[in-house]
Point group: C2
Chain length 654, copies 2
């Protein structure tokens, strides 16, 4: 019987949500967001139950209660908001509310005209017990009530008094309450973890850090929040790759920034051609002036001439011929890269050293890391490393670049990665986009996996982008920037609609910037910079676009037209996006809007304001016509302007 | 880093199934059944993984391995059979299979004609490590292989030898294996927990225990496994209920057996009019001779004159006027019943005493208990009580009679109840039956909740049964006995198609046997005994009908016709049931059989043998015609007889 410390606690609490892998992993929120907690709560018999969500910030030992309400089928719901960075904890408490049970029964008995003399005495006892828990005026009031109930002249219906019920709830007896056996965790990040626009460029193509500084005003004007740089470290010289990933490297070719380390240093050094550490810190500071943050790429792999290989040979796998095992995916060989051996005996020192790489850059002002191929390093390392780093620096953001199978990608997110690359680049048709985005935003996945949508990267020039020039790029931009609260572009190539693959069927760029220095003419007339600027402005002005969970797809009668809305909780901001997914042809069709969900009156006209073109359309009812010609625009991004009132012949929209 | 005792274990094991409420509750099986375990298993990188389900009986500290196989999307599956009563435990172990990884890479390199000189040396090292783990001949063989691989003349392709791969798997290095963090439990019951036919009767209507003994040959012939008796204890005298639940009881009226306890004794006593304890033990012994077990009803509530009320007043709630609180569901009062107060200070002694009631009857030979209204007693009590009792008596069976909301019903099953009453009595239409049975048999619910299907009980005369006589009863019998591996009837009333409600709209019987002694003419010509005998015989002869998880519904083009199959795992026994759900009218239609799932050749004729009528039909293809006239029979119970071969003009079916 020892297991049941109090066998008298009669409430059952089960199936608490959100709860990831039985509470093994935390859910994620950003500051100001709410956590809606649900649980199945019930007890034996028919007594009335009360329940609360208990929550606390990690710095605060004391719990705060948020009330839960029954909504259906023994399911209860409550919510709280997170207002500080770091960890929150939550659990559920429920108890038999003896007073409310008594009150409900009393009402039924009174309705049936039964004698309730003894019931009033029972009620008086319950009130006196509550008075003993209360203090001051509340205690006095409760004792007065108890005395009254015991009086011969008491009119029984008065015991149903609402103020009394409220007072009794405040002093409910929780001695026999049940508390859910787990304390569940929330990791609270800053807003940029949820909402932001990323821009990737290779600093060496812009003249190093000084050149990057010159790009900042333009990027700020375009509305980017994060400037992400591929690895900035010295590049290996042995087995260096040449232009177009050639195994032969001609003299003067710069090599891939992901082949890290040379005699000039490793993961804590800067490639001399980009500038000095001081130059880098200058870039960080100037970016901050433009409200742009620098994100650094951390790729845990070494060129064969990386200092680690010499200094810590025990971290690499040795082959029987005495050489170090290079990376391979047979029959392919990557002789310019040697991987760490996470099974090595000295794994603890390896882990510590890798963590110290992050710490080095954090100490120089970096708070955002894009992590290269985290799925090829042991998973346990990430849980430990990110956990340790975020304990002291809850503002850190880690973007996981794991393009692998879904479950390893989700696991990395559970283990601590703040955001994740994902399959968006390859989801093109309406069905593909809808089912994938629903899986990311409308399931438990949304609790721990924050997608960052990239239409292109230096590694990914999709078949879709290769199809056609500006229209294909515009389509993918509109989708990425409105489906995803976080999105990013490999910027120069995207702005200029660069779409030539290395060869037919390849997703690699011809003359990829990964292996050579490029000179981009960013003021070319075909640049998409104006569109990008407009889209980023729309994102900033419309809070509905700053979340993912509020995504709702709508029916269209043409499979080339995709339509979806996002709304703020209070419906004060609703954005409807319609995209013609075909970059070649005009498409038209009818879309169906759920007027009730959008809180629209089906008798009244409402205005759809296209924020891309500033055109305004008057719509009425759920069924509405759309026509999009890629020659002009592939997308509408409508802000819904609700009808306020009609005075004479003037219409006002808010 | 302390949390990661070995950061070198690279395999991730998650989403293990079955796992009920994060492993808090066990799954259920009967002896001989298998447990299919699935898990998501993956690691960083591209190495080859091996995995096993580890399982053990509670009496055995050592684990046995059952191999797991990858089947899709990082999901693996393995299985084991349970062969002893009591508890089993299972978990999952996975490791990087270094040899298999090496072998897979070697093959790719050989296919690409690469030089593998160094790879062979690596392989030799791996083999020598395995040899050190192996012993005897295996070790010698592995060392020989290693030596050969190091030889200059070794033909590399020979290293792909299958026998070598098998040998290496047997001695795989599991030093860095990952083991799932939970040990999950299986409760293993005897076969009767899964498969059985129950018959309920009131012994007092048959002249007490001696009269029951006389019923045994008939019940055995009809094919019943369990004879369930309502409470056999002394019945309270104060506030005793009269005929038809009247609050006024005339002298000589026997009262409800569920109003337990009087001056003659309580839950451990026998009502003198039924016989003595010795008579009861004689009934148990005679029943055993007929392969029938007696199930006892345990109803934890007291008549006001139960000895507990006097001896343990602290177990009941006292009202301020000094009286004991009787049961009520306002405005209804049940003054013939006083409930236990599970919140009382002396709860531990209350729990012990209630458990001792079971122990008393167990010591007198009872192994099956039907528990009355368990959802009105504190849930924690059942987990503790059933857990303690089954620890010493794993053959015990507890049937939960909780007709309440789904979640409390499921919770009781999780807490330990072996079987459960359920909503079957009120699921009448095809849609209702299909969705409900799917929820019970094709979801996680099937892991812990074993439905026992009762078309009627002394409390439940459904509207459906009231509609029409024999046809309605035949329909519900066919459904209960074939949808449910366990089913039961409140027998005399069911056999005789007793269907008069107390009043229009009521589900209570007129002149209910709960409040009076009945005299049943079981040899009346309209009795369904022949049909029941036939159905029970079919259930015994066809193992497909002895499980629930194998239930598959099939499409019919007439909503009055429901069709489903059950098959044994090896498909040696397949039963197709088709029921006309309308008791009034003939219905016909076409049903679609999934030939591939049933492993039927679409080019060959197969035979459908109606085991109810012995009629045989030749079918071919998936689309087949059915016609059922309730005037003759409302159901087909077909055994599928597969076509074996044709010799000249003879057809053979097996």
């Amino acid at each position: 019987m020892s297991k049941n410390l109090s066998g008298r606690s009669r409430c059952i609490i089960e199936n608490v949500a959100p709860e990831i892998d039985g509470g093994k992993f935390p859910i994620k929120r950003t500051i100001g967001e709410k956590v809606v907690v649900e649980a199945d709560i019930f007890a034996d018999g028919h007594d009335v139950i009360s329940a609360v969500v208990k929550f606390r910030n990690e710095k605060n030992p004391g719990w705060t209660d948020a009330p839960m309400k029954f909504f259906e089928d023994d399911r209860w719901r409550g919510e709280f908001a997170v207002t500080e960075l770091g960890n929150y904890f939550y659990t559920v408490e429920a108890w038999i509310n003896r007073f409310q049970s008594w009150r409900a029964d009393l009402k039924k008995k009174l309705d049936a005209d039964q004698n309730v003399f003894v019931e009033l005495l029972v009620g008086a006892d319950i009130m006196e017990e509550a008075a003993a828990r209360a203090a001051g005026a509340d205690a006095d009031t409760l004792r007065d009530w108890a005395k009254e109930l015991r009086g011969k002249k008491f009119a029984a219906a008065r015991a149903l008094d609402k103020a009394l019920a409220g007072l009794m709830n405040r002093h409910a007896g929780r001695k026999l309450a049940s508390v859910y056996e787990k304390e569940l965790r929330v990791v609270v990040d800053r807003e940029l973890a949820r909402f932001g626009a990323w821009y990737e460029l290779f600093p060496r193509s812009f003249g190093g850090f000084h050149g990057c500084v010159k790009q900042l005003p333009r990027l700020a004007k375009m509305g980017f929040d994060v400037l992400y740089l591929p690895p900035i470290h010295p590049i290996g010289k042995s087995f260096r790759k040449g232009k177009n990933n050639s195994v032969k490297c001609k003299p003067g070719e710069p090599g891939s920034p992901w082949a890290i380390g040379s005699g000039e240093g490793g993961h804590k050094a800067i490639h001399p051609e980009l500038g000095t550490l001081k130059d880098f810190q200058h870039l960080i500071a100037k970016a901050r002036e433009h409200k742009i943050e620098i994100a650094l790429d951390i790729a845990f792999q070494c060129a064969p001439d990386h200092p680690y290989v010499r200094e810590h040979p025990q971290w690499f796998r040795k082959r029987p011929d005495g050489t170090i095992q290079y990376a391979e995916n047979p029959p392919k060989k990557y002789q310019d890269i040697v991987p760490f051996d996470f099974e090595c005996d000295d794994w603890e020192n390896l882990w510590r050293e890798l963590k110290s790489v992050f710490e080095f850059w954090i100490s120089h002002g970096i708070k955002i890391f894009r992590v290269d191929n985290p799925h090829t390093k042991t998973f346990g390392f990430w849980e430990w490393c990110i956990g340790e780093l975020k304990a002291g620096n809850p503002e850190l953001i880690f973007l996981s670049e794991a393009f692998t199978r879904p479950k390893p990608m989700y696991r990395l997110a559970k283990l601590g990665f703040t955001q994740s690359y994902n399959y968006f680049p390859w989801r093109n048709s309406k069905d593909e986009l809808e089912s994938y985005l629903i899986s990311l935003t409308q399931t438990d996945v949304a609790e721990f996996f924050r997608p960052n949508l990239w239409p292109n990267t230096p590694d990914i020039l999709t078949q879709f982008l290769q199809m056609d020039g500006p229209a294909a790029f515009s389509i993918r931009l509109a989708l990425a920037a409105t489906l995803g609260a976080s999105y990013g572009i490999y910027g120069p190539a995207f702005e200029l609609c660069e779409n030539t693959p290395r060869e037919q069927g390849s997703e690699e760029y011809l003359n990829s910037e990964k292996y050579e220095i490029k000179h981009w003419n960013l003021s070319a007339p075909h640049s998409l910079d104006a569109l990008i600027t407009r889209v980023n402005g729309i994102r900033r002005d419309n809070p509905a676009l700053q979340s993912n969970r509020n995504l709702i797809f709508h029916h269209t009668d043409n499979p080339e037209l995709i339509a979806y809305t996002k709304s703020t909780d209070d419906k004060s901001n609703t954005v409807l996006v319609v995209v013609n997914l075909n970059p070649h042809y005009k498409h038209s069709g009818w879309i169906d809007l759920p007027l009730d969900e959008l809180e629209l009156d089906r008798q009244k006209t409402f205005q759809m304001h296209d924020l891309l073109t500033d055109a305004r359309y008057l719509w009425r009812g759920s069924h509405n016509y759309i026509e999009l010609n890629p020659a002009f625009s592939s997308a509408h991004i409508f802000r819904l302007r609700r009808h306020v009132r009609t005075e004479h012949d003037f219409d006002y929209f808010m």
